[in-house]
Symmetry: C2
Subunit: 188 residues, 2 copies
DNA sequence: TACATATAGTATCGACTCGATACATATATT
DNA sequence: AATATATGTATCGAGTCGATACTATATGTA
């Protein structure tokens, strides 16, 4: 068992990224958790850009997330739009300014520079290893996996590679299927 | 370039560990950062168990770390011992209680369970990938690598595998050479 | 030796995070 | 219609964190 060895690496990685994220976010008056919320909203689909989905992804309470989002809205990095069919729900959409800030902050400079020095092969190797570790952790956890449509059990692919979500009963366009979804469920 | 893909994995991993760490630490009234400080002190050598070394490792300011350590001391998880030759320096030593709490908290339950399900081969593969990524990040950063003696430039190994540190001018015992050091420098 | 400078560490302040609790509103269930 | 459930907000207190100012010790230099 190399659990401790692995953990030490992961924790150190955590430290470095948090430091870098704090440093970079300070440029825009943003806290690490606020950058993470913005980042999530930039990689999730339109069914998953709600406060409750952010709550599930970040693993915080909805009250805490509500405060985070309030700050981001006040700073002009996102806007809230009421759902047309369910008036309880708001959809959070990044503003042009929010997208810009995010593009300049994430991935963080330190991480980006480190990746530049890695070969394509090494990057693939690391990506695969992280994927294995992550999926394994999610399986042992009650948290939602937040996967993409292509391997979701609710997805049925038609003849022309058209994705269709059987949970939401809607076809999905090419951009949507690449984004992560809070309703994602693994194939059985 | 798969920078974004890699970053997404690492950030998600961060989330999961922070959540788990917060949950577990709450059992003992400890915050994630306090567990990290305790953890560092359990894996560093006696030259590196000072407040300033914790500061460098965690990447925070010394004032912040001072507060963290004050809490840990008050809770009875560590004790401070003045250095014999330099009165400015304190050495931080975990108490029996501190060691116990740490053993029950780190690695976090979620992470430990996930590792149990991975084969020895997979663990080796992930460990190697994380090592590559981490060393690369540290190289592009001004932060100290905090390595172990065996690959440190200050180390000169004698006939009987006896480690000797040329910076501190002291021989090191078998336990010490396995611990991380704030004075560590890569071989040239 | 005297004085300047550097290093290790602490104390305090204000802005911020975060969970807990209570609450408002909308939808689902019975 | 009444009740339960789900989405989201407001407020509070404990705690994090960097900035600043401070003390004490060590080191370098004239």
């Amino acid at each position: 068992m190399r659990t401790s060895e692995l953990y030490n690496y992961v924790e150190r990685l955590n430290n470095l990224l948090r430091i870098d994220s704090r440093k970079k976010g300070a440029t825009y008056g943003l806290q690490p958790i606020q950058l993470e919320a913005l980042h999530y909203l930039s990689i999730c689909n339109t069914y998953s850009n709600t406060p409750i989905a952010v709550t599930e992804y970040l693993g915080q309470t909805k009250g805490t997330v509500s405060q985070t989002l309030k700050v981001l809205e006040k700073k002009g990095y996102l806007t809230k739009h009421s759902d047309v069919s369910d008036k309880r729900i708001s959809h959070l959409v990044l503003t042009k300014e929010g997208v810009k800030v995010l593009a300049e902050s994430i991935p963080t400079p330190l991480f980006t520079n480190a990746c530049k020095k890695l070969s394509e092969k090494e990057q693939t190797r690391i990506s695969s290893a992280l994927n294995t570790l992550l999926l394994n952790m999610l399986k042992t956890n009650e948290m939602k996996p937040f996967g993409v449509c292509s391997s979701c059990r609710y997805n049925s692919e038609s003849e022309e590679n058209q994705f269709f979500c059987n949970l939401l009963n809607e076809p999905l366009n090419d951009r949507e299927v690449e984004l992560i979804c809070r309703e994602y469920k693994d194939l059985e």
